[in-house]
């Protein structure tokens, strides 16, 4: 039997203008307007290219989504996965109507509630009770529904004692629990959820995920769920949509999809980007880097868990006997461009051993529970000690680190400060009198 599709997406594209919205906009606006007056198609919609952030484009316009189409059947729990910038968030925004598509059509059967953030519209001066009603109304609940679910929401979030206190006096945990409590009790047929579960502690994440799973299994509710967390996608979803460069790369069964994502995405990084760059390196008379790879159990080669070690692997050929070779990397935090640490496989600066010709491998291990969540770059560096650089700056490999099962990722409302998040041993004892 074919389940009735409740969401039908046809050829959705979304175009964005890059750069600043400023003086140029008026010119383009007039240009578009002039074409529209003449009854012609918008000329700037033809401009633009597939959104690949790693490559520099030639046009000011890009497509964050390009010809995206799929159906979602009733009761399906569809996971949406993809690299940063693959169009996941834009797709959710279009589906939840916070922005409209440039072309295409979406048809939806049933009430939609979208949860791109918990606690949207919470007002710090209002009490917990008032905020439940306000937030519920913003999310599209009627007064009757909120009243009926009120006790359940309070119960779920465990803030009963504070329900008539302004939420500005809540602890951050209480705040998030209350906000998610409202969202978890939405009575819509379709629920769209962004990575909102990343906030809150592990216990709460489990509880919320459990609630979501329960809702979709019992209520025949359709859920769209964006996440980087392959584990929770695997356990919650039955279908998967893999996004790449604003297009649908895979749509189908979740197990098959996760396999595809793991194998394919890694393949893409290696074959298209890195091996190209490897080939384009200037030839060196002593040294040739054959392969470079970042490895982690169950990782896709781009997104890594902070709770497991990351293996940095090199394979290279020594063409002529050489002394004082150093193979290593700089580890750089992407936003601040701050170098966190540099590693050379041979860390004693006095050792200048000779290397015979042949193929070698080197491995460095970045410890588990060392990094905080964030975007990092590995800058591959190879040199002959005290003589010259062989590779430095030509090969930069991006990696995303996610903290899903490591140390509590949030600290108050904010992410924990800093780029490193190693467990620090604490000992607390009663000191006596």
């Amino acid at each position: 039997m074919i389940m009735r599709p409740v969401i039908n997406v046809e050829n959705i594209s979304k175009q964005y203008r890059l750069g600043l919205v400023g003086t140029g906009t008026l010119k383009d606006d007039l240009y578009r307007w002039w074409y529209r007056v003449q009854g012609k198609e918008d000329p700037l919609l033809k401009v633009g290219e597939v959104n690949d952030r790693s490559k520099k484009g030639t046009s000011d316009y890009v497509f964050a989504l390009k010809d995206v189409g799929f159906d979602v059947a009733q009761g399906e729990v569809l996971g949406i996965i993809g690299k940063n910038g693959a169009g996941k968030s834009t797709l959710l925004k279009v589906l939840s109507r916070t922005t409209s598509p440039s072309t295409g059509r979406i048809r939806i059967k049933g009430r939609v509630a979208s949860l791109l953030e918990v606690g949207t519209g919470f007002h710090p001066e209002l009490t917990g009770r008032e905020n439940i009603f306000l937030n519920g109304a913003i999310l599209g609940m009627t007064k009757h529904e909120i009243t009926r679910k009120f006790d359940e929401i309070v119960d779920f979030s465990g803030v009963e004692r504070y329900i008539d206190t302004p939420v500005k006096r809540y602890s951050s945990g209480m705040y998030v629990r209350l906000a998610f409590g409202v969202a978890a009790h939405l009575e819509s047929e379709i629920l769209i959820v962004d990575e909102v579960l990343a906030v809150g502690d592990i216990e709460f994440q489990k509880k919320s995920l459990g609630k979501m799973g329960e809702v979709s299994r019992q209520g025949g509710k359709t859920v769209l769920f964006v996440s980087h967390n392959m584990i929770s996608i695997g356990s919650l979803c039955n279908k998967l949509l893999v996004m790449k460069h604003g297009q649908v790369d895979f749509h189908g069964d979740v197990k098959e999809g996760l396999n595809y994502y793991i194998n394919h995405m890694q393949h893409v990084i290696e074959s298209s980007d890195l091996s190209e760059s490897l080939k384009s390196l200037p030839e060196d008379e002593y040294f040739e880097l054959l392969d470079f790879d970042l490895q982690q159990e169950q990782s896709d080669g781009v997104v890594f868990l902070s709770s497991r070690p990351i293996k940095v692997c090199y394979r290279y050929r020594i063409k002529k006997r050489i002394t004082g070779l150093r193979v290593g990397f700089d580890f750089i935090e992407q936003k601040s461009e701050m170098t966190l640490f540099t590693v050379f496989h041979d860390d004693s600066y006095k050792t200048i051993e000779p290397w015979q010709e042949g193929v070698y491998t080197s491995e460095a291990i970045i410890d588990a529970n060392l990094l905080r969540e964030g975007s990092f770059i590995i800058n591959i560096a190879v040199c002959i000690h005290n003589v010259r650089w062989i590779i430095n700056g030509q090969l930069k490999v991006p990696l995303e680190v996610r903290n899903i099962e490591g140390i509590t990722p949030i600290y108050g409302f904010e992410k924990r400060p800093g780029f490193l998040l190693p467990p620090i041993a604490w000992r607390n004892e009663p000191a006596g009198d």
Partner: protein, 289 residues
């Protein structure tokens, strides 16, 4: 597969498309969000009150101080006519109306920029937001209006030259407030739609509201205007409202039915235009804010 799909055709609750037709105003949808509207009004009222020590007293202090200032500067120093009315009542009547208009206009004209964080995360008809602002503004207006009535009673009992016209008050008050609210909301909608893309307008708005006040008979009566320039003031739809208001409450000023009809017409035009422009922008503003 296709036939099975077709069996569900035309059975969709919602269609999302790039551009809707010019006049799909979604007013019915706004109506469906009446409860949300109520909650926003409540939030505005409660939160304003909660953040201050003096609370709603501020609603009194501001018009009182403005009235005193106007009485000193325009009444006693510049000696501008007040149609023979007590200066305090004359200025206060104008200020009460004007304050509502200017508050309402400023509070709605920044709808998109102020609410970008909410609008980016959840959908509801955006019109609910400025509507709630216009309604919660009525509370402040009500308080200031009571202050004005208090002074009016005091002056009447003391035998000043004021002649309230009770039957007139009953129908003119709601009509004037409604037209004023519509004008402020309509203009606010147009401005909010434009400021999302062109921030320059923000600088113009505060300045423009100030200028507009001088083109409205707030600190002078229309009758004191030179015949040659009177049409300029009369072209301003708010002028008719202030004059009608003064006529029924104080007994001076002009209550003109054609004038009120003109104000209503302009209001209706601006409001409809405002809603159309606003609805067009609400679909894409997240990309430009």
């Amino acid at each position: 597969m296709n036939s099975e799909k077709n069996q569900f055709a035309e059975d969709w609750d919602m269609v999302i498309e790039p551009r809707s037709s010019l006049f799909s105003l979604n007013l019915r949808e706004v109506w469906g969000y009446g409860y949300l509207l109520m909650m926003f009004v409540r939030r505005d009222l409660v939160s304003v009150y909660k953040q201050t020590i003096l609370g709603p007293l501020w609603f009194f202090i501001q018009p009182l101080l403005t009235t005193i200032t106007f009485t000193i500067i325009f009444g006693n120093i510049a000696k501008i006519s007040t149609d023979g009315l007590p200066q305090v009542l004359f200025y206060m009547s104008g200020i009460t109306l004007w304050n509502y208009f200017s508050d309402c206009l400023t509070n709605t004209s920044n709808t998109f920029t102020v609410n970008a964080s909410i609008f980016g995360k959840v959908y509801f008809p955006r019109l609910v937001m400025p509507l709630s602002r216009a309604i919660s503004g009525l509370a402040k207006f009500g308080v200031q209006f009571l202050l004005f009535v208090g002074f009016l009673v005091y002056y009447t009992l003391n035998g000043s030259n004021v002649h309230p016209d009770l039957p007139g008050i009953l129908w003119v008050t709601p009509v004037v407030v409604l037209i004023l609210a519509g004008l402020a909301l309509g203009l606010g909608l147009i401005l909010s739609a434009m400021t999302t893309k062109y921030r320059d307008l923000f600088f113009l708005i505060t300045f423009g509201i100030q200028l507009l006040m001088y083109a409205t008979p707030v600190i002078y009566p229309i009758s004191s205007m030179d015949e040659k320039y009177r049409w300029l003031i009369q072209a301003n739809p708010i002028s008719w409202l202030v004059e009608a208001f003064r006529h029924v409450y104080l007994g001076a000023g002009e209550l003109s039915l054609p004038g009120l009809a003109y104000s209503f017409g302009v209001m209706a035009l601006i409001l409809v235009f405002g809603i159309v422009v606003f609805n067009r922008v609400e679909k894409t503003f997240m990309d430009t804010v």
